[in-house]
Amino acid sequence: MAAKIQQAPRTLTATRSPHRERVRRCRNRSEHAWAYLMIAPVTIGLGLFYLWPIVQTFYYSFTQSGPFGGHQWIGAANYRALAHDSSVTQSALNTVFYTVLQLAGIPLAVFVAALLNQRGLRGRSVYRVIYFLPVVTMPVAAAMVWRWMYQGDNGIINHLLSGFGIAGPHWVSDPSTAMYALAAVGIWMAFGTNLVIFLAGLQGIPAEYYEAAKVDGASATRTFFRITVPMLTPSIFFATVLTVINSLQLFDLVYMMMGTPSDATGQSNPAMPHVQTIASLFYEKAFIEHDTGFGAAVAFVLVAFILLVTVVQFRLQKKWVHYA
């Protein structure tokens, strides 16, 4: 709706006289000045705290940096060391695996969104609040509660499982379950965001399509896969891109759920090698072991990887995203 209203005056100006057009352009210029002034705080903030640090990080990745500043140019040595470091390879694989698991949350969100979007569903807003709550919950608090629930000996999950005669594992300290345990929390936290994206997308699908399908006698399943899903592909694409970028940067869950009070980085957790992500490895190298240059190189590999994956996604979208 908003887009249509915005478009309307533009088509009108084209028919206006040249004089009025000039007046408008003048006004435009002062409006532009205002606009620039209004976005200045954001732009300066972005430049100062996002772009400049990126440039600096890139520079430091070619140096050996002291823990309190001071550095020395060493060329590509950090990148060479990184290529031979098995912990980098392992954490890259872990990160990719986590990302793949996170993508499983998308079909789930599409399905729930379609259910919530049904006409005449009672208490729809209650459901929406419930699904959106994890998004507005502090990740640290959520991670603490999950960690407590995942406890092997007295956790509530294993307590419930024992009711069915199942002896649950130590979820976050067992190498075979830790990554799945973390991924479940990740999906749970991102679910609300995806749901909102899909609900908005669903509301953009014209009702006529569904009416036509009904007239043709299409089943609910067929309607879902032939109308809802194809019409929703732009939203699915967008949610996928966001999910991938966020998942590749996973840090908070690892930091909060793998460590213990006496062991901040969770190194004594036997499952750690299977959960260590690139971002948590970066933190460890740069801030715990004080190898800032190496950490910067790790961070830059992550940036490059995210860029690459995103470019590939945008290339591939032509094959499956329908902009109806």
Binding site: F68, D153, S173, I197, E289, H290
Partner: protein, 440 residues
């Protein structure tokens, strides 16, 4: 064609939310940055006029905050012109934050330092050097503190910190479980063999009861046993690792065997529930705990009446790790004279006496420790002091955390059952020697 524009609008809105968040974050950072600046910069220029000087004193232990405040109060009473604000930063973030602050040139005027980080800060000229003149002028005599502690904060003959407290490790045991198993309580005559025997008898898997806790912790566990076996973690001079030596392997094996034999909860279990908490559940027979745990145990309703502490059992010889914190000044403080004065007071007998009573840690000043012992009438905490004659300094190097951070990661596979402890020890030695060679 309403769909594309609707889609576009939807996408546009969600996307535009990100710069908005970024701006909020940026604004927050600006505020935080200015906040930090004013924190340590406040009071600048007041020196000439003789007005009040503000100092920030950063600590990480919330249980000691009250005790520290009492010391600060006493200091301010004697020095009305110096205001000290205590700043508590959670243990988990303390070093990351301090490093960032020091890099930015705005670290607090006075802060707590520990052994593993001391050389890092000293060798990078972040700490205020305390010359013998400065110490003398402010009435500090280093002879009042244990020599091993002074040494921890001395680099190349220059003193950087005044010892604040110290901690050793003791053997805690649950008397109820010992009585039920018909075992004699641990005493100074105990050896490793006694621990193994008792651990076996105290374990009853069906009741979820274990003889001992054997987490892969350095200070409380394998550093002590390595020293007791006659080995070392870092060679004198700090240039090479001692992990490849058979003594070190014996010290590691003592613990990994206890886990392997099932006398200790599994590493997975000890990761899920912190070792001290497990001991407080009352289902654990023995636990090697630092003296800093006394306060917590004395307040635990489950175990406070049923546990006590003895000196560490001996291996080839008697040994315990000794570590202690120091109060240090920031090299770039605007008020070095006031900082020195405050540091001297923190190291004074008066301050240590307050610390002994109120903060639950063993004060560093010789002769004030009895007040600490007296504050735990229910436990034989004198054991921690009895160990002083054979206490060994905590192993450190210029960048301790570079190798220390990886110790647990290398040991975890051996503790968790699979890997041979000898192989793990060799790996440790290789990893540590690589890290040490980078320091030179």
């Amino acid at each position: 064609m309403p769909q594309p524009s609707d889609q576009h609008r939807m996408k546009g809105r969600v996307r535009s939310a990100r710069p908005a968040v970024a701006a909020a974050v940026a604004a927050g950072l600006v505020l935080a940055a200015t906040g930090c600046g004013s924190g340590s910069g406040s009071g600048s220029g007041s020196k000439a006029s003789g007005g009040p000087v503000n100092l920030t004193y950063r600590i990480w232990d919330s249980t000691q905050q009250t005790g520290m405040q009492h010391i600060v109060d006493a200091f301010q009473q004697a020095n009305p012109n110096i205001h000290v604000r205590i700043e508590l930063v959670a243990n988990k973030e303390y070093w990351t934050k301090l490093q960032a602050d020091a890099t930015a040139g705005s670290a607090p005027d006075v802060f707590w330092m520990n052994g593993p980080n001391a050389q890092l800060y000293e060798s990078n000229k972040q700490l205020l050097a305390l010359s013998s003149n400065v110490l003398k002028q402010n009435g500090v005599d280093l002879a009042n503190y244990p020599a091993a502690l002074n040494q921890l904060y001395n680099l190349g003959g220059t003193q950087y910190g005044i010892p604040k407290d110290f901690d050793t490790v003791g053997l805690w045991y649950n008397k109820k479980l010992f009585d039920a198993a018909g075992l004699k309580y641990p005493d100074a005559s105990w050896t490793w063999q006694d621990v193994q025997n008792a651990a076996k008898k105290l374990t009853d898997a069906s009741k979820g009861q274990y003889g001992i806790l054997a987490p892969p912790y350095g200070q409380e566990n394998y550093y002590d046993t390595i020293f007791q076996a006659g080995g070392y973690v870092i060679a004198p001079g700090g240039k090479s690792s001692g992990y490849a030596k058979p003594e070190a392997q014996a010290g590691l094996k003592f613990w990994s065997d206890l886990v392997k034999d099932g006398y200790s909860p599994s590493l997975k279990s000890m990761t899920d529930t912190f070792a001290a908490q497990q001991f407080e559940s009352g289902k654990i027979g023995m636990y090697y705990a630092g003296s800093w745990n006394c306060m917590e145990f004395s307040k635990s309703d489950t175990i406070k009446d049923s546990v006590d502490v003895a000196v560490l059992p001996q291996g080839v010889k008697k040994a315990t790790v000794i570590h202690g914190l120091a109060n240090v000044g920031y090299a770039k403080t605007k008020h070095p004279a006031e900082v020195e004065k405050f540091l001297a007071f923190l190291g004074s007998k008066q301050a240590n006496e307050i610390e002994a009573k109120d903060s639950g840690v063993i004060p560093a000043y010789n002769g004030t420790q009895q007040a600490w012992v007296a504050s735990f009438p229910n436990f034989h905490v004198q054991s921690y002091l009895d160990e002083l004659p054979y206490a060994v300094a905590y192993p450190t190097s210029k960048n301790t955390s570079a190798w220390q951070n990886q110790e647990a990661a290398v040991l975890a596979p051996a503790w968790d059952g699979g890997e041979d402890i000898g192989t793990a020890a060799q790996q440790l030695a290789t990893m540590m020697n690589t890290a040490l060679s980078k320091e030179q």
